[in-house]
Symmetry: C2
Subunit: 316 residues, 2 copies
Amino acid sequence: MKIIYLDEIKKCLEKIDIIPTIEKGFVAYSTGKVVIPPIGELLFKNPPGDVHIKYGYIMDDNYYVIKIASGFYENPKLHLPSSNGLMLIFSQKTGVLCSILLDEGYLTDLRTAAAGAIVAKFLAPRIVNKIGIVGTGIQAKLQLEYLKNIINCRDVIAYGRNDHNLSQFKTEMENKGFQVTPTRTIEELTSFCNFIITTTPSTSPLLFANQIQKGTHITAVGADSPHKQELDENIFKNADVIVADSIKQCVERGEIAHAIYKKIINEKQLVELGNIISGKNMGRIDDQQITIADLTGLAVQDIQIAKSVFEAGGFS
Amino acid sequence: MKIIYLDEIKKCLEKIDIIPTIEKGFVAYSTGKVVIPPIGELLFKNPPGDVHIKYGYIMDDNYYVIKIASGFYENPKLHLPSSNGLMLIFSQKTGVLCSILLDEGYLTDLRTAAAGAIVAKFLAPRIVNKIGIVGTGIQAKLQLEYLKNIINCRDVIAYGRNDHNLSQFKTEMENKGFQVTPTRTIEELTSFCNFIITTTPSTSPLLFANQIQKGTHITAVGADSPHKQELDENIFKNADVIVADSIKQCVERGEIAHAIYKKIINEKQLVELGNIISGKNMGRIDDQQITIADLTGLAVQDIQIAKSVFEAGGFS
C-alpha cells in the first residue's frame, strides 16, 4: 500500500496527460459502464462545514475509488484552506487498499479543469476572439491554464468583484503567457468574448441572455449544488447545444436544473459530454451556434485521475 | 496526520479499556446525539465482493470518522483474508484529516465483541452455568475473550459444523483459561447453557424456540443484513426483554427484523441498548426471564473505538 503525498502527486502529474483519461471516464459513464452510488454527506453547523463522499468504479476495471472532500468555510480565519480531501484506491478484485492519495483537494481541482478543456475541444468556436473568465479563484486559473493546449487565443478578460484578487489573477496568468484585462463590468466581458467560463460559487445569476452574442460558448463550472447559479435561465432559450456532464445529475443540480425547473428547456434537449466525446452526438457544428456546457462534477473523473496518478508513479 | 498500522493499533489497545468508550457511544446514540447517514455500499460480481462505508459523528465532539470495510469472499483462494478495512479520523472543526487507522478490519471485530460484553453486563443471568458459543470464527473467539471480565463462568460449549475449526477453537480458548466442550449438536448447547452467543453468517435459523430454557440470555451477533438469520423468529415469542443496538436499524436488518416481519413482535417491545446502559430502561430483572440482544453494528461503535486508539497513542 502506497501513501502518496501532494508533492509526489504533482511529480506524477508531470508525466501524464490527464485529458484522454478523463475523456475515457466520461465515455464509460455515458455508455452505462460506471457504478456511482448516491453521494454521502455529513453537515456541520458550528463551525459550518460539509463533507462529501464520492465513490464508485468502472465495470471490469482494476480499481474502485473513494474520495472524501470537505469544505469548512471559516478555516481561513485559522490560516487553513477551506477545502481539503483525499482519495483512496482499492482493488476491485480483492478489496485490498492499494493507495492513499493525500491530495488535499488538488486532484478535484485538476479533474474539473480537465473537463473544461475537453468541453472546449468539442464546443469552442473555430476562432476564439477573447476568452472570458468569470471568477478569479483557483478554478478560474486552472481552467485557463488547461485551455492552453486546446485554444490558440491568449487574450483574456477576467471578471471579478475584488480588485486585489483581479490583479493577482492578472499577474499570475500573464506569467503563464496570457494577456489579461481585468473588469468589474460583466458586459465588457460578454461583448468581446465568444468563449466564456464561469467559475464562481454564486447563488444568483451573473450572466443574462441579452448579453450573450451569437456564436458564444459558455462552460459553467461553479454551480454544483441546487442553490448555486451563475447563468440566468433565459440564456438556455437561445442555446443550440446544451451539454451536461451527467444528465441525471444536471437535472437535479447546477445551471441546467434551474432552466428545467423554470420549464425553459426539457431533459430531451440535453446531450451528455461522454456521447459527444465518443461521436454518438454532435458538438458545435457552426460558428453561429450558442453552446452551453454545465459541469457539476462526476465521481468517474475522480476515479480516472486517481488511477492515472497511481499508475504514473509506477505503484500499480 | 498520523498513519497508524495494525501493530501500533494493537499496542494502543493494550493501554485502554474500550468497554466504557463504546458504552458512551451507545448512550449518545440512544439520546439522539449521533449523526449517522445511511450506509454507503458498492457491490461487485466477479469476483463477488461488497464494500460498506459507515460514517458519522457525535454532536459537539472533536472528530468525525469514516470507516471503509470490505468482504471479498474468494480472497482465501489467494491466501488473503476475506475482510479488510480502515478508519479515517477527521477534525469536526476544520475537516483536516487527523489519522488513518490501517486496522485491516480488526477494530470492527473488537467493537463488536465489546458490544457483546456490554450486553452481558446488563442481561446475563446472575449465575451462568455454561456459556454457549455458536460458531468458531474470529468473532466467536473475541466474544468469549471479552466475557472474561464480565462473567465468572469458564465452562464453554461450542457449536460448529467443522471438526477442524471446532478443535482449533477449543485449543485456542483453553489456552486463554476456558474449558471447551465442542459439539455438533445444537441441543447439547441449549440444554446446558443459559448464556448463548451466536456468531455465524447463517442465512437460516440454527436455534429454535423449544430448545431455549427459562432464564437464558441470547446475544445474536451474526446477522447484520436482511437475509441473514441465526434465531428462529418464534424464539422472540417467549422473550421477556428484547434489546436492539439500534431500533431503527434492527427493524430493517438482523434477527429482530425477521420477527417483526412475521408479526411475532412489534417495534414497541424493543428496548435500545443505550437506554439500558443509561438506566432509562431495565435490563434483566430476574433469573427466569428469557432475554435477547440483537447486535447489527453501529457506526458510533467505530467512531468511539477509532477515537480511543488515536487518543491512547498520544496522537491527538
